[in-house]
């Protein structure tokens, strides 16, 4: 079932629209705010469109700030795929054409996870107080939600380029199969993590933990930052008595020093890359398979050692 499209503006049927803005290669352009959406657009549009995704590998698209020239390029796109859930704040402070914009997570917006870490405040006496709270935005780590976003992308492509509806539908079927397989593998793999002490290095795994029935304590660490005494105390405070095993989830491969410190603290290191940005090697599916592989390698260590004491 195709997901409903944009909250702000649905993409209009351009069957009668001649002369869409074309890229230098003569193909229409689809802009995406993160790599998963860019990957879906690349898979679904196959050969007929160029996908514009400017953040370079290593850049987190959620915090990317485009230059004026980059915004101008995005404005020329025939379709702009937004993640929704407040992802990529630049989209609310930059001018992008409303009518070309599609929010791919609209179909499950009722299931967004609210974050309650804002400060309630007011600016002027007598005005209403408010909180800058938001929702978790790494929606695609629940691979079923990723499927819904892929479907929404396909629907938008079919509306914008009806002449390619057959190929888009065909590619969507293949993509949904791949994502469904990954979801099943992830579900099977993570089943062993239920009930374990799970600490994640960054607050980006909310949908992943919910989808696969996990419970995680979230920190705000970078993989390469130096872990001092305060960080290790913070980590120690997350320990649950009687846990069968303790796992520490990193966003990307951390430094060897950090791996060692976490191991000494009694946790098993696992890398689950959210893949928000374009990977240096491979594609979205490959990164997700690597995540499953990393979990498959790490989980047995916990099972064999039981609760590891430092």
């Amino acid at each position: 079932m195709l997901a409903s499209t944009s909250l702000i503006s649905s993409c209009e049927n351009s069957g009668n629209q001649a002369n869409p803005d074309l890229s230098p290669t003569g193909k229409p352009t689809i802009a995406a705010v993160n790599y998963p959406l860019a990957y879906f657009a690349e898979r679904l549009s196959a050969e007929f469109a160029e996908v514009l995704f400017d953040p370079s590998p290593g850049t987190d698209p959620a915090y990317w700030e485009p230059t004026d020239n980059q915004v101008s390029s995005i404005q020329q796109a025939d379709l702009i795929l937004l993640n929704g859930a407040g992802y990529a704040r630049w989209t609310s402070s930059r001018t992008i054409p409303y009518e070309a914009t599609v929010i791919t997570s609209t179909s499950f917006e009722d299931a967004f996870i609210k974050l309650q870490d804002g400060i309630r405040h007011t600016h002027q006496r007598g005005t209403a107080s408010h909180t800058h709270e938001g929702v978790a935005s790494t929606t695609w780590l629940d691979l079923m939600q990723a499927s819904a976003q892929a479907s929404s992308t396909a629907e938008a492509l079919i509306e914008q380029f009806p002449e390619h509806s057959d190929s888009v539908s065909r590619e969507l079927e293949s993509l949904l199969t791949d994502l469904g397989d990954l979801d099943r593998q992830m579900r099977t793999t993570t089943a062993a993590l239920r009930g374990a002490d799970l600490v994640v290095s960054h607050p980006v795994y909310q949908y992943w933990t919910r989808a696969y029935e996990l419970s995680a304590h979230s920190l705000h660490w970078e993989p390469t930052q130096e872990l001092g005494a305060s960080e290790m105390s913070e980590l120690a405070a997350t320990r649950t008595e009687g846990a069968s095993a303790r796992y520490f989830i990193w966003e990307t491969q951390p430094s060897q020093e950090n791996l060692d410190k976490i191991k000494i603290a009694g946790f098993i290191n696992i890398v689950v890359n959210p893949c928000g940005g374009r990977p240096r090697n491979g594609d979205f599916l490959k990164v997700m398979r690597e995540n499953i592989s990393s979990l498959n390698q790490g989980i047995p260590q916990g099972a064999s050692t039981g609760a590891v004491e430092p």
Binding site: S4, T5, S6, L7, I8, S9, S10, E12, N13, S14, G15, N16, Q17, E65, D68, V71, S72, Q75, R89, W90, S92, S93, R94, T95, P97, Y98, E99, I119, R120, H121, T122, H123, Q124, R125, S129, H130, H132, E159
Partner: protein, 394 residues
């Protein structure tokens, strides 16, 4: 008497009383000019109104006067109707009735209307940026050609929005906007307008703002209300009145965006089916919004203009008859005063026909000069009618 002599004597007679001649020419010219000029002005105005209305297929807005809604959307006149909610725009966008272009035309910068819209507006109106580039972020604007010329503005300059009420000292700060581009002239109200992203218009409205981080303890006071404790930023917290590359990320929106205001939405159906569906949906009196066909609303306005024209035309005709009668009387009195002169011409051998020709030529020269003057005025009026009408209606 030779023809050349008649011409010479007529010319001398007209030059002998220049004030009388000029007054007669002016009176007759104005008598001829006014009815025709009014007709030209009304005709041209109707053409201008119709052209802009035809390029705006459908308009959706709050219920009320369709003419007010149309003039606000097309000519950026003051917003007389209540605001349309952004959620209505979202609902319309999801109905697949065609391309939707939001318009929020409520604020001014000086005397120039400030229009919050999307980039699709420029495509609809065939507007191109002649200098600079289009807006790319909050606080950016592109301005019309006339405004740029009159105020000597260039890309890189700034322009500041005007507060709605100068006595509202606690109200929203005026927003200093960065001019990123100048539009090519298209001889419509767009030439005098300032265009911003809809979100920038909401900053001016006070629905979004940017301020320094509320992390310093000296900027905050702990307060309590029915929902518990909250922090109130004191007066030392600086709200930004200009969006810059540094603070653009600090601007944020408050409240439910569905309640944010718009003036109207231009709907451009891609086919007759979409148009019919939209008309049917919003034609239902149960819906909170109305749909207007601008061409029809303008036709109603034109009918009013025509009624006014008929009234003015009748008045000018009556005045014209009176003025011509006065001119005739001036001629007759003038001839009476010159009876001795005519008698002298007769005595020195001029025939009665030559004397009549002499007098007739004087009248003819005055009428010809007045006609040429009136026609020149009509041509000027015709060429300036579009600009005059645009300025009058805006």
């Amino acid at each position: 008497m030779r023809s050349s002599s008649i011409v010479y004597l007529s010319w001398k007679a007209l030059r002998y009383r220049p004030l009388r001649s000029l007054l007669l020419i002016g009176t007759i010219a104005l008598t001829l000019y006014f009815p025709r000029a009014l007709q030209e002005f009304i005709n041209r105005s109707e053409e201008v109104l119709s052209a802009r209305a035809r390029s705006t297929p459908l308009l959706i807005g709050p219920r009320g006067s369709s003419i007010d809604l149309t003039l606000n959307a097309l000519y950026f006149t003051s917003q007389e109707l209540p605001a349309l909610r952004y959620s209505s725009y979202e609902a319309l966008s999801q109905k697949n009735y065609g391309k939707t272009i939001p318009i929020y035309s409520r604020f001014l910068a000086g005397q120039s209307p400030l229009v919050g819209t999307s980039l699709a507006y420029f495509k609809l109106r065939g507007l191109t940026v002649s200098t600079g580039r289009t807006m790319t972020r909050l606080g950016d604007c592109v301005i019309g050609a006339n405004l740029a010329q009159n105020e000597n503005l260039q890309p890189g300059d700034t322009i500041t929005s005007s507060p709605e009420n100068i006595f509202d000292l606690a109200g929203v700060y005026p927003l200093r906007m960065r001019i990123t581009g100048i539009l090519a002239p298209n001889r419509t109200p767009d030439d005098d307008a300032i265009f911003v992203d809809l979100k920038s218009a909401w900053i001016i409205e006070g629905l979004a703002h940017g301020h320094e981080e509320l992390s310093r303890s000296e900027t905050l006071e702990l307060q309590r209300d029915s929902k518990g404790e909250f922090l109130r930023a004191n007066a030392s917290v600086i709200e930004f009145n200009e969006v810059t590359d540094t603070n653009v990320g600090d601007f944020h929106f408050h409240g439910d965006r569905g309640n944010y205001p718009l003036s109207s939405v231009i709907l451009v159906p891609h086919n007759q089916k979409q148009r019919a569906l939209a008309l049917a949906h919003y034609g239902d009196p149960v819906t909170a919004e109305q749909i207007v066909i601008p061409a029809v609303a303008v036709e109603q306005l034109a009918k009013t203009l025509f009624a006014t024209q008929r009234l003015a035309f009748t008045a000018f005709t009556l005045l014209g008859i009176a003025a011509l009668a006065l001119a005739l009387m001036v001629f007759l009195l003038s001839f009476r005063l010159r009876e001795r002169e005519m008698l002298t011409y007769s005595k020195i051998g001029a025939t009665g026909r030559a004397v009549a020709c002499l007098q007739g030529l004087e009248v003819l020269v005055i009428i010809a000069a007045a006609t040429i003057l009136a026609q020149a005025g009509i041509v000027l009026t015709r060429s300036a009618a579009q600009d005059i009408f645009t300025r009058l209606i805006s």
